[in-house]
Symmetry: C2
């Protein structure tokens, strides 16, 4: 069963013209992360590898390709959590770096803190030698077009929002049964300056505990926070629910209690996994037993052997 890695490229309504790139992006990310695990890497190495790949792709709302805030700027949030120690690291509203998930990991590893925000996060990045990149290098034509479209007075923010590529994330279990999660996002289209969503908030954007499992979430941040979705799903697993049933219970509760849609990837320490969503779509992929699993619409589950592809 072990190792296993599951990634998501965001829940929501993925425009047709971007669906293929989104699917190939999650498949490529999960493949790289699986290689890390096969070579004996930690689950933290694997989830960070997967998320860095998606941050670097312009087709996801994280790193390069992030949605813009109301001022037309990129501010990003990210978190990592280590299920062995319950240690976590996060950054919120950080600018001018290519890979917020790597900076979140550095917060966990190099400081006594669990979250650094805004200018404080940038100063820390400089102090540990993380290169600064220009705002322009993070902004795609597509994200600028959508920002402008949403600024016009008669824009339908809900429609624009539903067209978004959500947050990206990953969960993994390595050969030793250690779990980890990572989540990274540009946040919400046309958000206020300084808005922090669920992603860097432990228990909402992600949670990892070797005693139960790991979850990474995606969807409307403010709604996910209301139910602390990641922690909620793991509480269900602590009470004996499977990764899949617990994920469905958490998402169903979020829908019925506060009317929110979203998606999650979940693993337990034995390697059972789930990629579940209540939104119309979520690009996801998983790798286990030399098999690639992936899907985009509800009920879709494609399988391909890794060895077939070579």
């Amino acid at each position: 069963m072990l190792p296993v890695v599951v990634v998501h490229g965001g829940a929501g309504h993925i425009p047709k013209e971007r669906a293929e790139n989104s699917t190939s992006g999650v498949c490529s990310a999960v493949r790289s992360a699986y290689l890390v695990l096969q070579e004996g890497g930690s689950s933290m190495d694997a989830v960070v590898e997967a998320v860095v790949q998606m941050e670097n792709s312009p087709y996801f709302n994280a790193g390069c390709g992030s949605v813009l805030n109301v001022k037309g700027e990129v501010e990003m949030d990210a978190i990592v959590m280590d299920g062995k120690t319950l240690g976590s690291g996060a950054v919120s509203a950080v600018r001018n770096i290519a890979n917020p998930v790597q900076l979140a990991r550095l917060v966990m590893e190099k400081t006594s803190h669990a979250c650094l925000t805004a200018e404080g996060a940038s100063k820390f990045a400089r102090s540990v030698g993380v290169p600064e990149v220009s705002q322009e290098s993070l902004i795609t034509e597509y994200s600028r077009m959508r920002w402008k479209k949403n600024l016009v007075p008669d824009a339908n923010p809900v429609e624009c929002q539903m067209g978004k590529m959500g947050t990206v994330g990953a969960v993994a279990v390595n050969k030793e049964g250690n779990v980890a999660c990572a989540t990274s996002t540009g946040g919400m289209l046309n958000k206020m300056e300084g808005r922090v969503g669920d992603t860097p908030c432990i228990g909402s954007g992600g949670y990892a505990d070797n005693q139960s499992g790991a979850v990474s979430t995606t969807g409307h941040g403010e709604t996910i926070m209301k139910v602390t979705l990641a922690r909620l799903i793991l509480f269900h697993m602590e009470q004996g629910q499977s990764a899949e049933a617990a994920s469905d219970l958490g998402l169903a509760y979020m829908k019925s209690r506060v009317g929110g849609l979203g998606g999650v990837v979940t693993v337990d320490p034995q390697g059972n996994w789930a990629a579940r969503f209540s939104s119309r779509q979520m690009s996801w992929a998983a790798a286990q037993n030399d098999t690639l699993h992936y899907g985009l619409y509800t009920g879709e589950h494609f399988r391909r052997s890794f060895s077939e592809q070579h």
Copy 2:
């Protein structure tokens, strides 16, 4: 049983010379908040009233009297949560405002977001007419002395930290059975610039749900986050534990699993309440049935009738 309000003035080791002011501060805060409830105010009105009072007192680590970060500056975090809607508002690393808890409430009420950070929070404050105050007005002689003491090369940060006055917070249930929580803090002594602790993180610094209860936490932020302490305690209550037993279970788990000490105030929608801590001290007070309850050391529980005092 209803209404009820419970406040804490922080868990930790409270220096002798400040113990009396800390106790009188929580008693005065709880009295004002109880009056709000008796006059038919909401539980949100009550918890914000209590926390504002403690932010305005120089004897607590919140608002005026906040500990200083490594640069000698005040950066504050706060959260409020409404148990009826599960809506919340928070600010993190905010500067130059007197009452972060009020700004957190404005984030909940006036924006579509749940958290604003740093300069974005300041801009929002200006846009809604919250007056800017000077750094100096938030800094006490005492907090500057402790900051300097902790900067010297042979300082014992643990000892300095234990001398801290912790985070302040409150939980309340009004006559209709609606619960709310509020928590506010200057954070950790000599923290890095931009450090965000548990306080503004939903489920860690506080959580409120009319179906189970409300919790506000205090202690070492990074440790509280590891176990999402507020949400954990409410999960125990959802499974049938009393406010007191659930609080003890949550604190005991935090101690055994990750070696952390802290304290909480907890209510359920019926008006049962608890003020529990694993640290050496926590100043706390509660008001219910025209009776003031308060204490500082483990096992201490003083009672006084409100009518007696007039």
